[in-house]
Amino acid sequence: MTSSAHPAAPASPPPRPMDILSPDLARRLRDIVGDGAVVSDPERLLVYETDALGRFHQTPLAVVLPSDTAEAAAVVEAVHEAGLAIVPRGAGTGLSGGAVAAPGSVMLGTARMNRILSFDPDRRRARVQAGVRNSQLAALVRPHGLVYAPDPSSQAACTLGGNVAENSGGPHCLKYGVTRRYVQGLTLIDGAGRIVELGGANRPRGDAPDLLGPIIGSEGCFGLVTEIELGLVPETEGVRTLLGLFETTAEAGEAVTAIISDGLLPAALEIVDRHTISAVEASPFRAGYPTGVGAALVVEFDGNEFELDADADRAEAHCLRAGATEVRRATDDAERLRLWQGRKKAFGTMGRLAPDLMVQDATVPRSVLPEVLRGIDQIAARHELRIANVFHAGDGNLHPNILYDRRDAEVTERVEKAAGEIMKLCVDAGGTITGEHGVGMDKRDYVRLIAGPAERQAMAAVRDAFDPELRWNPGKVLPDEEPVATGSGDMGAPAGASTSGFTPPPSVTGIEVNPPDLSVRAPGDVPWGDVQSAMAADGQWSPIAAARPDLSTAEALHRGLGPLEAMWGPIRESVLGATVIPPDGGRLHLGGRVVKNVAGFDLLGLFVGEGALGRVEEVTLRAYPMPEVMEVLRWLPCDDRSALPGWPHPQVVTADGHAVLLCGTVAWVRHERARLVDLRGTPARHDTGVDALRAFVAAFELDEPFGRAQVERDGAPTVADESGILADVRPGADGDEGGRFAEVVASMRGARWAWDPTLRRGRLSTRPAATGAAPSTPSDSEAGHGTSAPERWSELAEAMAREGGGVAILRGPEGVRRAVRRATHSVDSSASATEAIARRVVAVFGDTLGPTTTSDGEDGP
């Protein structure tokens, strides 16, 4: 974990005779991407031998720079045929060795896949190639009053593809969430070189789990992401930035705990320690941080102007009570930017402090932050080392970087010991080994601390499902396992394994609410309503929506968030960790207790949401401060002309924070064509939202009465009876999707429907045949156009697939499912690739998907 520019820096091993790119392959690659886009000269390849961490060095056989998905897929095919592995690389800004070549591999760089493919400001989303830089997207959308929220410190240089690979965060992820919250879809080139589309209604089938979730944060090991569809958030009206000055980092940590416990949710909470301050202040990026203080805490609030000063005052009071010697406020934009510049460039300026830096990236629960910081100080003192600490205090994500000079072997030994001790301290405190930098090559062995043999085996098996021949980025993330002496084949520990070092968390017997950590743990079998009440008693709330509070918590986890997804992301975002029982038995402890966790491959998404596998024995959920007001408003539009006018102007309302954003999270609309808006927040914020909504309604002459609705809290369409067909419909990307969906609805007589303009998804539920309550079976389908007829759905699926959309049957008879699958496959070849992957993933855990059609390609029934 060192960063250095010393002449004795490690170099790539000299190439073996066979490690030269074959002329045939070289020629083929040049034919695909052009002469200038293939680098095969060993001297030129030197610049690709490492990443920003600088600890691991290996030159690839060649570097190829395709310009788009098609070229990339052709490159992958060529390289696979030559039997070589591929290592993806974005901008090489990673800090875990993830983008370092494996010996004898070909590197595929995304630097030329840097186009923004589409941008829809009204619907707040953009589609980009993987090589687009984070700040490139942010700059494009800013003039439209939009923000791309995940803002890692390297955002000026890092690519969005890299952000997806690492599930990147950044200072503002405290309030706005990490990359996963904003990925709505992506294009992936899988282990077999096929192009796979995922996201939205691009689920291969309704009974398959979410594959998008595991790909995010998979560090380039599941395939190459070439295109990404990303959601954007409106820029808030105002911002307040404070700087609290403390004598110790521990005191600053206490201020953080106090602020969160008080129910405030700042946009960012960052701490920098004295060493970091001195480095930054000595650089051109000096931020006006005073030297001579022990720690500085940056607190930023954003939201509506009328509430910011109150929030800032409360935070200031907490800082002073925790021992701050001074609290400053940025008085203008220039000052605010300078403060942030100092934080974002901090890592780079550390080169001034020492020739080498041991970079660390541990995450601990917020509530133990002060004691962990004290522990780190003790470790530093004991080993006589200087540690420069800069970290995302709000998430408990620490970077205690150890300063030293690698040339001194004795010091180096102390540093390595100290690094191990710090890691263990953080894990023992309930944390994890990496919050945002990823495992890569650097932390492979530490994975044993947070994942036991069963978990590691499951991660490896899921990876194999995406990439059976280990073509993508081998040698990363998972540690080498000792060989299995017995052929048990199950998820047992390898025989002769040393102690894994992983201690499963103690089981939870009742509901445990943890306000300072913004989390709650509960067994899977307790009623969800009880969990919600327990959280409410402590002023907290979870956006997981369930149709009925009497559902068990585990069952509630099988739902999505419905309309609230546009604000809080897919359900996976709300789950921090879980103990799950896969279909074939065994027990897996997945995730953890912390908000930012990119340790290992993320399997949690397979066990929550629709199509989830197995069952959840206990779960740790993310909580948010309870909004003071929660209400759903509705009104009826007066004309039929456009059944779903959508929200033409995204700036109509800027509710934010605890209030669900309008313009698009408006959600699920009932069959009587009412519009629903979900508003949550403080009373003042709520009233602002209502006023703006009134103005909107008046402006568009929607003159039906506008008032409070008696609608169930979650807004997701319920289906009174559990029979009938429930399907997600996603019309294609061209034209007015809402209008298109309305046509679909009109053709499905009697269907209940709901449409989400932000996620561009419609949901249909059709009742069984009107003649009886019994669900349709293929044998009694009505002639032609009954809504249960498989032919009807087949037509629909084909029509949607032709325009680039899709239909996913969430619940329905097998005949209908089969018809939809066949129709989709006949148009969309990527569907079969996705289905093949889904089938393999599900098989990892001993489950199967329903019978397949004959046109699946490699997999038979």
Binding site: A52, A111, A346, F347, T349
Partner: protein, 462 residues
């Protein structure tokens, strides 16, 4: 491998020391990659080897003995750098990329096998010509003659297709652009403003020169003095009007920037010594230039001679006194001129913005012209691709980079563009000509000069 005369800069060992950071303290590259998006060649090519981080990696590999400096990789990628130094302001570690590049160029030049010791006939000829003031003046006079006879336009039409033809066509356009479009018709046309119908606002300060300004040596330089003497004339007038006493040196004295950038260490030092000596005799407070590239080089003379006991102090004293003309004016607070209603696009030269970090002064100067709307180009950090003779040595890449800048300039909608460096004026001007645009290219001081002239004319005084 040649050792130079005692400074040690041209040796691989010196490069090693620089890169290791021992000499610079603990400032080293931490591989963060922030420089990549700022680099014009990386933006065009997407290849790590054409980024500042990649080039530093190659330099380090040479210093460690892992890479042959005579090999194609080092030669090509070090040569391909524009030297715009846009990477320096964004580097958190303040890696002195510009001076490391110069060391690397010296190593590259020295390492080429003897028969290939040249950087190509064009560059070598230029380096030799620029070493001799007399030859230089003669060559530039010939160029002016050709320009006046309209030969560049002819050459453009007759140039063959293919890369050499493209380079020739571009060179011809550069020469044509150096003449300016409407040299004698003045700012009224340039900014397409109407003739002011009312007399300009009465100014409270007298129009006569102020008293007591600094004593300024104005260096016309080589290309600036040879092809853009009208700009130097404007600088001289403007400085005098603002109270300076100006000693204008004879044209033909090159500052050595070209040689430093090409790795001709001996050449650059010899020229620096000549300039220092020339100015020392004059006893001035300020050494001014209106060419950003020259200003940047001369401000670094102190560094060039840091290890040379005979010249270190003299060079440091000289460098301390170097200012861009706009800086001198901004420090004095320029006297306001007559109103020039209209707009001008502004593109800061890299060597003023990144190398000298002194481009604020230009805005102060332009603000002294009432009514003039200054429109900054959309990406002021981006190089125009000029970089000396880059447009001729790297026609395709220089062309691609230049095209971006030209379209940004045109997108401002202004009738003319101002920039403070002759190389940039020719690069952008050539691009505009080849794109069929009628936009004019001026130096910022020309606008202020015209504004003063208008003030004098409309008030009736000569």
């Amino acid at each position: 491998m040649r050792e130079s005369s005692g400074t040690g800069h041209s040796s691989i060992d010196a490069l090693a020391k620089r890169v290791d950071g021992v000499e610079e303290g603990l400032l080293t590259c931490v591989h963060c990659g922030f420089c990549l998006p700022a680099c014009p060649t990386y933006r065009e090519l997407g290849d790590e080897a054409d980024s500042p981080r990649g080039r530093l990696h190659l330099m380090r590999a040479v210093a460690e003995g892992r890479l042959d400096p005579a090999g194609d990789a080092f030669q090509t990628h070090i040569d391909r750098c524009l030297g715009c130094r846009a990477c320096e302001p964004v580097c958190p570690s303040s890696v002195p990329y510009g001076s490391l590049l110069e060391s690397a160029r010296q190593v590259a030049r020295a390492a080429r096998p003897a028969r290939q010791r040249t950087a190509g006939p064009v560059v070598e000829t230029m380096l030799r010509v620029f070493r001799s003031p007399m030859v230089l003046r003669a060559s530039l006079a010939a160029a002016r003659l050709a320009r006046g006879l309209g030969l560049p336009r002819l050459a453009r039409r007759l140039a063959p297709s293919g890369p050499n033809g493209r380079a020739a066509r571009f060179a011809a356009a550069m020469l044509e652009a150096s003449g300016g479009r409407r040299t004698s018709r003045g700012a009224r046309d340039v900014t397409t403003s109407q003739t002011p119908t009312a007399p300009p606002l009465a100014s409270t300060t007298p129009r006569a020169a102020r008293a007591g300004g600094p004593r300024v040596a104005l260096l016309p330089g080589c290309v600036q003095g040879g092809l853009f003497s009208r700009v130097v004339d404007a600088s001289e007038r403007v400085l005098k009007r603002n109270g300076c006493s100006v000693v204008r040196l004879r044209a033909g004295g090159c500052c050595g920037a070209l040689h430093a950038h090409a790795g001709d260490h001996d050449g650059s030092l010899a020229l620096a010594r000549a300039r220092i000596g020339e100015v020392e005799r004059l006893g001035v407070d300020v050494v001014a230039t209106d060419a950003a590239g020259c200003g940047a080089a001369m401000k670094e003379y102190g560094e060039w001679f840091a290890n040379d006991p005979a010249w270190a102090e003299r060079a440091a004293v000289f460098s301390d006194r170097v200012r861009d003309v706009t800086e001198v004016l901004a420090d004095l607070g320029p006297m306001p001129g007559a109103e020039l209603r209209g707009s001008v696009a502004y593109d800061p030269p890299c060597h003023l913005r990144h190398a000298q970090r002194a481009d604020d002064a230009t805005e102060v100067v332009l603000a002294a012209i009432p009514g003039l709307q200054v429109r900054m180009v959309s990406d002021p950090d981006a190089c125009c691709g000029g970089a000396g003779i880059y447009g001729m040595t790297h026609p395709e890449l220089g062309g691609a980079i230049g095209e971006r800048k030209v379209s940004e300039v045109r997108a401002t909608g202004a009738p003319c563009v101002a920039t403070g460096n002759p190389g940039c004026m020719m690069q952008i001007g050539a691009g505009l000509i080849l794109a069929g645009s009628k936009m004019d290219v001026v130096h910022p001081v020309e606008l202020l000069d015209e504004s003063y002239r208008l003030l004098d004319t409309t008030d009736g005084s000569p």
